[in-house]
Structures are given as structure tokens and as C-alpha cells.
């Protein structure tokens, strides 16, 4: 029996085409304050989008919405082009770094990472954890409680947790915070590897330098609104610097919104 001819699909010209995660006209309101207003943004596999903006611009909220941790007040989140069960389908494939370490403080980095590797279904969780800690160069501290580690080391462990198992989507909120220059260079290297492997990276930061080494595209967020979106030519992108200054100056009216931990 011959297969029925496929119905002709009209092409859908959408910025979200081919994106791993796409936010469409997303707004989020916390306690009557807008953290995001009408933001549309998409990340494709093998690319890195830097979300730039001052403190309180809504970057963290944007990442939480993209991770499926916060439901937007308005707008849609699409995972691989579909809204259905977006958060649940994302779950196995997201590496997320936030302001908090997302770790158990009384446990050691090794115990923490082994737990999360096991929860992710790794065949050899212990080895996966050790490998991730080695990649961030923190295996020396692997057996002391996270709570007693220095700020920079903790950040490295948090990054190791997020990068462990090579997730196809990385949502990184200020990943360079607390890292020394060697750490930042190592992270940059790892992220570049991840992107070249096909990972989609959404990176939020208020410091621009390191992020622009990596980003293919920049989005400037101020007072919850997307003020600029465009390609990045490199760390010294003068146009982008202008756009950033303009956007943050315009946004003086918007009070920064403190995002509650959800």
C-alpha cells in the first residue's frame, strides 16, 4: 500500500526554528513587580547566547523560566519546538548554575556529584563525578564538606555538577562569579568544548568580557525588557558596548526587581 502523500506544510518562519529552548513573549511578575516583560529569546544547539544586563535586570528569572523552574505569567516556553511537557522533557538534559550552589553543604563535592550522577541515571556515578571534578580541577578538594570550601572552589564544584554528563543545554547564571583568572580560563575552555559538541548555552552575566569570548549572540536585558539582540563580533565589540550603555541608561526608570527563590 502506497503511503499517503505528505500534506504540504507551509513553512513557519519563526525565530524559534531549530532552537533547543525558545521563550516566546514571556513575562513574569513577582509580587506585582515585573521581572520579565515580553521577552523572546531562543538558543540553538551549538551556539551560545549571552544575556547581559545590570543586577536586577531579570537575567536570573529568564534562566529559571528557561529551565522550567518558574512558570511564566504570560507567554510560552518551547522545548524543541513544542510547549507540551516542556519542563519535564528538559529535565534530563539541563545543566544549571545559579547563585546558590544547588549542593548539600554538609556533604563533600564527591558525595554531592555522585548523588546527582546517580539520579541522572549514570551507569558509573562515582566515576562520572570524579571525572567532572577533575575537569574543573577541584579533585584536591573532593573529600571536604562543601560548606567549608572557599567561594571560588564552591563555584567550581557547582559548575562541575552542571557540566557533569555533558547536558545538551547549559543555563549558566554568572558562571564566572568567584573564579580566579585560571578558573575563568578553564571554564571558558570547557564551555567552548561543550558548544562545539553541540550544546546550547545560555549565559547570564553583568560582566561582559569573558562572556563575549564565547558568545555568538548577545541579548541585553534592562528592567526586565529585552533592549538589544544581535550577533557578537568578539570581546571588543564596540557596537554592543554602545548598545549596553544605551539600554542601561534608558532603563533608569525601572526599579530592580529582587527575585524570590522559588
Amino acid at each position: 500500500m502506497a503511503a499517503a502523500p505528505a500534506p504540504i506544510q507551509p513553512p513557519r518562519p519563526s525565530p524559534a526554528d531549530g532552537a533547543l529552548v525558545a521563550l516566546e513573549r514571556v513575562s513574569k511578575v513577582f509580587r506585582r513587580r515585573a521581572a520579565l516583560r515580553d521577552v523572546s529569546l531562543a538558543v540553538r544547539p551549538g551556539s551560545c547566547v549571552a544575556v547581559l544586563g545590570p543586577n536586577g535586570a531579570g537575567k536570573s528569572t529568564l534562566l529559571r523560566v528557561a529551565a522550567g523552574l518558574t512558570r511564566p505569567s504570560a507567554g510560552r516556553v518551547l522545548v524543541r519546538g513544542s510547549e507540551r511537557d516542556a519542563a519535564a522533557r528538559l529535565r534530563a538534559s539541563v545543566g544549571y548554575v545559579a547563585h546558590s550552589t544547588l549542593l548539600y553543604e554538609p556533604l563533600t563535592p564527591r558525595e554531592n556529584l555522585t548523588l546527582f550522577a546517580r539520579l541522572a541515571g549514570a551507569a558509573a556515578p562515582g566515576e562520572r563525578a570524579a571525572e567532572a571534578l577533575r575537569a574543573l580541577d577541584v579533585d584536591r578538594h573532593a573529600d571536604r564538606a562543601v560548606g567549608v570550601l572557599s567561594r571560588g572552589t564552591r563555584q567550581r564544584v557547582a559548575l562541575a555538577r552542571a557540566l557533569m554528563g555533558r547536558p545538551p543545554l547549559l543555563l549558566l547564571d554568572e558562571p564566572f562569579a568567584g573564579l580566579d583568572s585560571a578558573g575563568a580560563a578553564r571554564l571558558l575552555e570547557l564551555l567552548r568544548e561543550a558548544r562545539d559538541r553541540g550544546a546550547a548555552i545560555l549565559l547570564a552575566t553583568h560582566g561582559r568580557e569573558a562572556a563575549l569570548e564565547l558568545a555568538d549572540e548577545a541579548a541585553i536585558l534592562a528592567a526586565g525588557r529585552l533592549r538589544h539582540r544581535g550577533p557578537v563580533s568578539g570581546p571588543g565589540d564596540a557596537d554592543l558596548a554602545h548598545a549596553y550603555l544605551r539600554a542601561t541608561a534608558d532603563a533608569g526608570d525601572g526599579e530592580p526587581v529582587r527575585e524570590p527563590r522559588a
Binding site: S27, V29, F30, R31, R32, R33, A34, R37, D38, R71, S73, A74, P260, A262
Partner: protein
């Protein structure tokens, strides 16, 4: 809405008149027995309120309907007021008939526990922090487990102790078999009137909740502008 309130008010006055002038004075308990015509309908309405709380909670979780959440939180508030009145009228009746304000009889005790549960729900609504949609969902979960617990609590307390007069109305199998006709008629009038009154209260509270939600939505709208 206005017709409902007017009907409820009229029915309530009618029921009071029926209780005062039509219902006979009971031989043993005297006039105090007339509390029965208020107490039983109030208890009945409290259970209706719990049913409305359950329905609203399920609706919130299942369909994410804001209207369902308004029903749930209104029903809990109306229910806790009704449960308070059940306890007060029960206490008055107990003083008149048993000579004591309170006794740990099975049904009184489970009503008291129900009062704590309803008040706990109302407290939860007022103390919960976080986005309103999240609170609506977590409160709906609370509403469902509270409603599911009510029969278990009732069973456990009944096993724990039963002193209460066996349900008079239902005793001989057919409805109202144990009550003289005029008493039964008064009870039915009163049941109808109180149900109408509770419904009117609930509708008014839901309207108020609609206004609250519209204010909240307007504030959100302003924030997004």
C-alpha cells in the same frame, strides 16, 4: 445575586418564625430543644462548605481554573464561620440538655477537629508567600487532603467514643421516621433556609474574591506596562 440574597433573607426569617411559632415544644427538653432546628442545618451547611472546598481544590489542580480557587478559598472561610456556629449552638444545647457546655462526645469532637482544619486552611491562605498561582495550587493540595481526612477523623473519633444520641432523623430506616411530623416539617424548612443562606454567603464571598483577583490582575498589568 441580589435575588438570591433576598430569597435567603426571606427564607431565614420564615424559618425562624416556623421554629418559634409552629414547632411544638418538646416534652422533655422544653424550649431548648428548638436549638436543634438551627444546630443541625448549620452542621449540614458546614459539610456542604467542605464539599465546595474539595470541589474547588480539585478544579484548581485539574483545570487551573482561577474560579475554582475562588470557590475553594471562599468555601473555607464560610465553612469556618459555620463550624464556629455549630460549636456554639451545640454548646448552648449541651448546657441546656446535658448540663454542661462541652462534652467529649464523638460528633462534637470531630466537629471541633473540623473547625481546626478549616481555620488552619484559612491561616495557610493568609500566611503563604509566593506567587498567587503557586499558593492556589499548594492550597488546593491542602484542601484535598483535608477533605479526604474528614471521614477518617470522624471514624476514628466515633470509635474513640460515642455518647451522642444516635441520629434521630435516620433511625428507623425511612427518613424522618423518628420525628413527629411538625418537628420534621420545621427541620426541613430550616434546612432549606440555612442552605439558601449559606449559598448566599458563599456567592457573596466568591464575588469578593473576584474583585480581589481583579485588583491583583490590575496591579500585574500595571507592573508589566
Amino acid at each position: 445575586m441580589v435575588p438570591l440574597v433576598v430569597c435567603a433573607a426571606a427564607a431565614f426569617l420564615g424559618a425562624l418564625a416556623t421554629i418559634a411559632f409552629y414547632a411544638p415544644v418538646e416534652a422533655v427538653q422544653g424550649v431548648a430543644q428548638k436549638i436543634f432546628y438551627v444546630h443541625v442545618p448549620l452542621a449540614w451547611c458546614t459539610f456542604l462548605a467542605v464539599a465546595a472546598l474539595l470541589a474547588g481544590s480539585i478544579g484548581t489542580l485539574w483545570r487551573r481554573r482561577p474560579g475554582a480557587d475562588r470557590l475553594a478559598r471562599s468555601a473555607a472561610e464560610v465553612g469556618s464561620v459555620l463550624a464556629t456556629l455549630v460549636l456554639l449552638t451545640g454548646s448552648l444545647w449541651g448546657k441546656a440538655v446535658w448540663g454542661t457546655w462541652w462534652t467529649w462526645d464523638g460528633r462534637l469532637t470531630s466537629t471541633l477537629v473540623l473547625w481546626f482544619i478549616l481555620v488552619g486552611y484559612v491561616l495557610y491562605r493568609s500566611l503563604a508567600e509566593g506567587p498567587p498561582e503557586t499558593t492556589a495550587r499548594t492550597a488546593a493540595v491542602l484542601g484535598v487532603i483535608a477533605a479526604a481526612d474528614v471521614p477518617i477523623i470522624h471514624l476514628s473519633v466515633t470509635w474513640w467514643r460515642t455518647l451522642h444520641p444516635e441520629p434521630v432523623v435516620m433511625r428507623s430506616g425511612d427518613f424522618g421516621g423518628g420525628l413527629p411530623g411538625s418537628m420534621l416539617a420545621t427541620l426541613l424548612v430550616s434546612l432549606g433556609a440555612f442552605t439558601l443562606l449559606a449559598a448566599a454567603l458563599l456567592v457573596l464571598r466568591v464575588r469578593l474574591a473576584e474583585v480581589e483577583d481583579r485588583l491583583e490582575a490590575a496591579a500585574v498589568e500595571r507592573a508589566l506596562r
